[in-house]
Amino acid sequence: MTTADTTTPAIEIQGVGMVFNGGRPNEVTALTDIDLTVQAGEFISLIGPSGCGKSTLMRIVGDLETPTSGAVRVNGKDPRQARLDHDYGMAFQQAGLFDWRTVSANIELPLELMKWNKARRQTRSSELLDLVHLADFGAMRPWELSGGMQQRVAIARALAASPGLLLMDEPFGALDEMTRERMQGELVRICAETGATVIFVTHSIPEAVYLSDRVVVMSARPGQITDVIPVALGERNEDTREDPTFFASITTVREALRGAPAPAVTGSNSVDIS
């Protein structure tokens, strides 16, 4: 449930640093000096080369990792408390649905964990199936659906408890371009309908620009924020993709990324997926 009022930022990150295997020979500094404030309802993309720590940063916000330095507040709370209060919904590159549950039961899982009763869960899951345009698929098994449909189920599942904050780690990364654009459109619509704050990790510049209010550009070794680029595209629709401002913003982000130092080890994903 959204607990943030308008005066409390959804996320406050101050001086966050993350060192893996500290003190050992394989010590890796994943993040240094990260400062970022995200207002409620904002859509923020994290973009940068592999190994820049963007996934790690998202995982720190989601209390899946504990930073080695600095402070994070989510809805004015400790991330752990926010997690226990079910403030988060998460979606990943892989749908990660449970094979043994129907599509509906997968969506209802977060609600089961919150001890909602069955009738309420069913009402909610059919609402969500409508939202992701899968109304007729509730009784099917996830493995009977295509990859894009599974990803939509995963997003519905992330939205189940109406979390104020959505953390998405390349949720469309495994989809083909056409499906991807359609999913982006749906995500924009869903966010407009739910008013959720979103942290969205991606490798795709057009995706980041199309979706975001602000694009956070990061660089690797050590992972840090090099630029925060506001995107003023107004309301998104399919015409947005043809808009000169869209292309201008893509260019700005691309140049910001070029300006960022190249990663020391290319192709290594070891840090941001750890």
Partner: protein, 317 residues
């Protein structure tokens, strides 16, 4: 392992084609085909057996066209004719006995099955309990696993009398220890091992992604166990249960022999092998009964498998 493949990597399955075997016109014909295969297999074994016997008879116990002796005897005592064995099922156990041999074997199968099944169930419970203990921490796994393995290297023949002796000393009010319970415990001893080993693998099989998801949703340890780890362990447990089922039958028969329990297949094996020279077919009949019991037990697991896995992708089955 197909079960660990992320869902999205699997090709979408046509729902009409999935879950076949439960319904549709092909189910009956598949059943018929399978039955033909089974009967064909039995007939083939009988034919080979008879052919080997005929060959040994024709050559006088050597390989054809050589003077090399066959590694086994093909006379009627060592290898009674197939028809003798088949007909023996319908004859009395011994002359003057009103019950025929089939009744004796069926009763013994039922008796042994009860021991094996009780042992099997207790074995599953103990095996899963050990798997859950090992799941707690890595050092518990390192500490417990060697003992689980060592337990299986103790010869059953050495263990059985100890179990029987301990059992006989148990004195609890309103409860009297029965001999067959000792046999069930011996069956348990063989059963818990595959369940513990595969159960642990299954409980550890959820991806980091699935575990992160449960954590993000503030799932308790219990909820993660019952809603994620246990369902994920099922495909790993099925083969363990098949192993455990056959092992429990072997354990029960060996246990009966060691404990001197009457009424089961173990006792019949001992009795009939003592009188083997005068009635060899009878021992073959009991061995066939024991094999059949193992097959029926595994068939029971297969039915359980179909029930538990009916909603899983075919790749996982």
């Amino acid at each position: 392992m197909a079960t660990t493949a992320p869902t999205f990597l699997q090709k979408p399955v046509d729902p009409a084609r999935s879950n076949s075997g439960r319904s549709g016109p092909s189910a009956l014909s598949r059943f018929a085909r399978r039955t033909v295969f089974i009967i064909g297999g039995i007939v083939a074994v009988a034919l080979i057996y008879t052919a080997v016997k005929a060959m040994g008879h024709a050559t006088g116990g050597t390989w054809p066209f050589t003077s090399m002796p066959l590694p086994f005897s093909t006379d009627d005592v060592t290898m009674p004719p197939v028809m003798d064995i088949v007909l023996r099922f319908g004859q009395p156990q011994r002359t003057g006995d009103p019950k025929n041999l089939t009744m004796w074997i069926l009763e013994a199968m039922l008796f042994t099955f009860r021991e094996a099944f009780v042992g099997f169930i207790i074995g599953i419970i103990i095996g899963m309990a050990i798997a859950l203990i090992m799941l707690r921490t890595r050092w518990l796994e390192r500490g417990v696993m060697p003992w689980v393995i060592v337990s299986q290297t103790v010869p059953l023949i050495a263990l059985a009398p100890v179990v029987v002796a301990f059992g006989n000393q148990i004195k609890v009010p309103l409860f009297s220890w029965q001999q067959w319970m000792s046999v069930a415990l011996i069956a348990t001893y063989l059963t818990f091992f595959p369940v513990a080993v595969n159960g642990l693998r299954g409980l550890k099989s959820p991806t980091p992604l699935a575990l992160d998801f449960m954590r993000t949703n503030a799932a308790s340890g219990n909820a993660t166990l019952w809603k994620l780890r246990m369902p994920a362990a099922v495909p790993f447990l099925i083969p363990a249960l098949k192993l455990a089922a056959t092992a429990s039958v072997v354990g029960a028969i060996v246990g009966e022999i060691s404990a001197g329990v009457r009424g089961g297949l173990g006792r019949l094996l001992i009795d009939y092998s003592a009188q083997y020279l005068s009635d060899p077919s009878r021992l073959y009949c009991v061995v066939i009964g024991a094999a059949l019991l193992g097959v029926l037990f595994v068939a029971l697991i297969n039915v359980t498998d179909l029930l538990l896995m009916r909603n899983r992708p075919r790749e996982a089955r």
